[in-house]
């Protein structure tokens, strides 16, 4: 029996514009084995957060993901607020909810376009990205930037929504609803789309549980894991979300779930704009956060986003940990790829809506001599000594240090 042909995909541009490497072993056209190597995109975000103040960290956390920037900063703010015992005003929670749903809209529209592009359906890509622009323009108007809206701050939101913006939101929603209904109809009836997406990248209900997949991947297999429903927070304690699930368990199912979720988001946005109470938009937050630790989860467009925060009573966090939803979805990827055709690999990868840089949290180097765990200070000393031997003295370089 032949060994099969092994084809490396990536680390440059493997279906999406971020680095990751796949080693695909083929048996004819069928993927026999898939090896996924993450770790090209480690940015040291968590360490950076630990050496800056809580306020400065807002803008680092916002940049964990280029799409779900609100979900991450919302989770982080909720961590800090809970530790500091702050009660955010209701109006702030409504604004956060509106921005969160707008983010879900633009994220799912982006995904639909990327999925179209991966299967060679570029017309769909152009249309959805055109519609996504309208959401981004709206977000720029609300927050001041297209992607890093910076709406969240510790204790509430930074900007209020006036009547003009609310009206504009409703107008855009009317236009979008029409478009998204058209995409929903397209997904139901366009033969090429269905033929290309149905029956590939299957992750059944049992597999979802086994690999711990989250978000639309889990919901497409019939598991309702939407944090807004299973553990309502913020505005969702008052406004009920109608969850979307599907039973196809394949890439097609994930497409259907995302399209239906967009329609649900539009409904929620309209409701939130209508029901938004008057009042203040933020409360004063202390600079020093009381000692404690906390885990918070929110529903990002890609699924459950988990943040952990530990405070030591200073104005800088002691530990920040981000578990982005893509990280949970990677574990089932090998299973999703194996057994399907090589031509389906890009769309199967794209179907979890992966974010590689969100995923890279830590790098572990293994050596034959055994692993050791080194703390930050001794790591720095070792580095300085090593460079001194090479004739360079880096000890003068100023460094931000963590803690007090």
């Amino acid at each position: 029996m032949s060994e099969g042909l092994t084809i490396p995909i990536g680390p440059q541009h493997p279906s999406l514009k971020e680095p990751v490497s796949f080693l695909i072993t083929l048996d004819g056209e069928v993927v026999k084995k898939a090896v996924i190597e993450l770790g090209y995109n480690h940015r040291g975000l968590e360490k950076a957060c630990e050496s800056r103040t809580y306020i400065q960290d807002l803008y680092i956390i916002e940049r964990v993901c280029g799409i779900c920037s609100h979900a991450h900063s919302y989770a982080y703010c909720r961590c800090v607020e809970e530790l500091a015992g702050l009660q955010t005003p209701r109006r702030a929670e409504y604004i956060r909810g509106i921005v969160g749903e707008l983010e879900r809209l633009h994220s799912h529209l982006l995904w639909l376009g990327v999925a179209g592009h991966e299967i060679g359906f570029d017309t769909l890509f152009m249309y959805t990205w055109r519609d996504r622009e309208r959401v981004l323009d709206l977000l720029a108007e609300i927050g001041g930037n297209r992607v890093n809206y910076g709406i969240n701050t510790i204790g509430g939101v930074r900007r209020d929504l006036d009547e003009n913006i609310c009206q504009h939101i409703l107008d855009v929603m009317d236009g979008l609803e029409e478009q998204i209904k058209y995409y929903a109809e397209l997904a139901n009836t366009e033969a090429t789309l269905i033929a290309r997406l149905a029956g590939i990248g299957i992750l059944t209900r049992d597999d979802v549980i086994k690999y711990g997949a989250v978000g639309p991947v889990a919901r497409a297999a019939g598991i309702m894991d939407d944090v807004r429903i299973v553990e309502p927070y913020g505005v969702f304690t008052e406004i009920k979300v109608n969850g979307v699930t599907d039973d196809h368990a394949d890439v097609y199912g994930r497409t259907v779930v995302r399209i239906k979720e967009m329609l649900e988001s539009i409904r929620l946005i309209r409701l939130m704009v209508k029901e938004m109470p008057d009042g203040p938009i933020s409360v004063r937050a202390p600079r020093r956060i009381p000692t404690g630790e906390i885990i918070i989860r929110v529903e990002a467009p890609r699924g459950e986003d988990v943040h952990y925060l530990r405070s030591n009573g200073t104005d800088k966090p002691d530990r920040v940990r981000v578990r982005a939803p893509s990280e949970a979805n990677w574990h089932g990827m090998k299973h999703m790829l194996e057994g399907f055709h090589f031509a389906d690999v890009p769309i199967i990868i794209a179907a979890i809506d992966p974010c590689y840089s969100c995923t890279d949290r830590a790098i572990m180097l293994r050596s034959d001599k055994g692993d050791t765990v080194t703390d930050w200070e001794s790591l720095r000393r070792t580095g300085i000594e090593r460079y001194k031997k090479m004739g360079i003295d880096p000890s003068k370089i100023r460094m931000r240090t963590s803690g007090v």
Binding site: I55, Q56, Y59, G150, L186, A191, T204, D250
Partner: protein
């Protein structure tokens, strides 16, 4: 898992594609026509030194260390200047929110590119 049984005729999107061909494009010809910048868009900062008390809170809260406030005069006779490294600034406007005297604000000026790295530090 559900199997999709119905057979559909492909090319449903063609009708819309044809009508779109006769519509105005959604994109603009940049840089010939200028992009639409929302009124609240965060661009280049504006500094008004009159009320500045040199408390340096803006510098402390800036996540990137992009802004510097300097008093070039004496303690009694203040002459305040603000410098911004636009290569570092992420236009988050935390400094605007932080300033207790409302000395900082933002404009919608986003045309900030320079040909030389040294020119990236500008006086506000």
């Amino acid at each position: 898992m559900k199997k999709i049984k119905k057979i559909f005729i492909p090319g449903k999107i063609v009708a819309r594609a044809i009508t779109s061909a006769f519509k105005k494009p959604a994109t603009i010809k940049y840089p010939k026509s200028k992009p639409d910048i929302a009124p609240g868009y965060r661009g280049r900062l504006i500094y008004s030194p009159t009320n500045c008390i040199d408390c340096m809170m803006c510098m402390r809260d800036c996540p990137t260390g992009a802004i510097t406030i300097k008093n070039l005069g004496t303690k009694e006779n203040k002459e305040m200047h603000a410098y911004l490294n636009i290569g570092r600034c992420i236009f988050c406007c935390q400094c605007v929110d932080t300033c207790p005297k409302k000395c900082l604000s933002f404009s919608q000026d986003i045309m900030l590119s320079k040909l030389n790295r040294d020119n990236l530090t500008i006086e506000l």
